[in-house]
Symmetry: C2
Subunit: 331 residues, 2 copies
């Protein structure tokens, strides 16, 4: 890290000025004036770390509002920490900036970071900035802490466990489809709702922390609920069976896309939901419901863990709904 002073001194000093205030509350960030930052987890806790890289036109659109790009880049990382049960603490930010970046764009980007730092009680600890001939690229490493050994893994699901998901799925995918013009326009309020979920995920920080010691496995839904549950099924060596009618679709999604099988499969494979999908023993159902209520998070019980492998979705007659390709499916 050269702490945001790099090859174009004048302009990169501007960045340093915009970013240094984001590090003001973290003593170990040394005001972004050193080569590295320090952090010590509280006694009895350990660090949880995750990294995500976002590129313009792959993970967001270059013309999206800079505040939203900043928040989305931060939140996809925070969502990983949430699903693991960690309390977020801070992040390092590396930027590859197209040469036409402007001071006002950068100020808005920093404002977006500042807003979310307040919202999630985290600080910037360091990073790096460089110019690029390619698309804007944002690489974030976020870290949090939790009591040692309590991270909610992907591999703890056991046959008999219940399967849950927070919030609703499919909205962000529908929002992106509208932006791309691959989903027909609909009523303005519903459109705004799903586009908003694409632009700005809501990492389920409080729910994730409340699920420590309760959830047997968890992850955040980024690639699509089916694809992500398949990760739990694979690493836990179990089968996951979902009941189609329990999968939570928002009123906006139902209005814009529908609620029949095809719309449902779209929601299950769209991705970018950033909800938490998790499993828990049936004996802990009440604990799950209390964790959700205590943190003000809506959750749905959507299926069951069985012996076997893979993920299946059953209709109300118990017949498997065919899904041609799990995740990464476009409208």
């Amino acid at each position: 890290m050269t702490n945001f002073s790099s090859e174009r001194p004048g302009e990169f000093e501007l960045i340093a000025k915009l970013f240094a205030p984001l590090a003001a509350k973290a003593p170990g960030a040394f005001g972004l004036t050193d080569d590295a930052a320090t952090f010590r987890p509280p006694t009895g806790e350990e660090l949880v770390m995750t990294a995500d890289l976002l590129s313009a036109d792959t993970h967001f659109r270059a013309k999206d509002p800079p505040e939203l790009i900043a928040k989305k880049a931060l939140r996809v990382n925070l969502s990983d920490l949430a699903a693991k049960g960690a309390m977020p603490r801070g992040y390092l930010l590396s930027l590859a900036l197209p040469r036409d970046w402007t001071a006002s764009w950068m100020a808005a980007f920093a404002r977006g970071l500042a807003d979310d730092q307040s919202a999630f009680s985290i600080s910037l600890f360091g990073g790096d900035t460089t110019a690029t001939d390619g698309p804007l690229t944002i690489a974030i490493t976020a870290f949090g802490t939790l009591p040692e050994g309590t991270m909610i893994r992907r591999n703890g699901a056991r046959p008999g466990d219940l399967v849950f998901v927070s919030g609703t799925v499919g909205d962000a995918g529908a929002g992106l489809a509208i932006l791309l013009g691959t989903l027909a326009q609909g009523p303005a309020a519903e459109q705004a709702a799903v586009i908003g979920r694409y632009h700005l995920p809501t990492p389920r920080m409080a729910l994730g922390q409340a699920l420590r010691g309760i959830a047997s496995a968890a992850l955040d839904v980024s690639d699509g609920l089916l694809a992500d549950l398949e990760h739990i099924a694979d690493t836990s060596a179990v089968r996951i069976v979902l009941r189609a009618k329990e999968v939570p679709l928002s009123p906006a999604y139902r209005r814009l896309v529908g609620g029949e099988d095809k719309a449902l499969v779209g929601a299950l494979t769209a991705g970018d939901d950033y909800e938490i999908a998790f499993t828990a023993a049936p004996s802990l159902r009440n604990a799950v419901l209390q964790a959700a209520a205590r943190t003000g998070t809506s959750i749905s019980e959507i299926g069951r863990v069985e012996d076997g492998s893979g993920v299946a979705v059953l209709d109300s007659n118990g017949r498997e709904i065919p899904v041609s390709r799990k995740g990464f499916r476009h409208f």
Copy 2:
């Protein structure tokens, strides 16, 4: 982090297979099968974190051998940890890959990482992979540990302190200049030596750790010795005066570029040296020399810290050598 499984499942699974072995020795990396990794610093120690982003054609050449690209990306991060006195522990790696990457390129890249993981006793803890239409981009966050409160800062230089630098400076810059064709060719052995230093820096891990409690300020030389010493001068609110004839130039550099003022200024402003520049109280000169000897590192005493501001280079008559622009200067 989606742990190296991303939008092109088949190919990205290949990456997962190549990278999972790199995480095998770190229990907290969970074999790269989870959303996040855990790490706990030893009792009494704290974490030291740094992030650097490297782009093809800005920080390395896209056609450079993939092993060397991998090692350089890792080592520029390790060099920051070295200068701070930290023992390296691990890293997270985010890659934006041009769509024409090949399995053999990626295997060589992973081999480079594996070699350096052995050399520096570190592990891969996680990361992210995505495709890009832009240049290959490598974002690394490296972390290490040291006893709490012992990080060697940039801001501790005091008037009267001595100024040191490890190894020799200017070689990497001369190597790059030869590769770019802006420095005339010279004897093959000397060329290979300086090009080698451009391709593969040697982070001074052992020296940095030995300097904890001895050096009053330190950083690694990435932007050029003068530009980097200016960071120490600025954050410590002191002036740094170098004696030109003490600045360590390698025999290869002298043969290829020369040893007179112009060549010297080139070495002081070329960058990419990844040596440690540091200050220490005169009473600790012997401790410094012992730390260097104990770690088998050559060091040079090159100047003195004074009251004032900025950095100056004096010739043997005590006259200041004019330097038009500190750092980022090409041959």
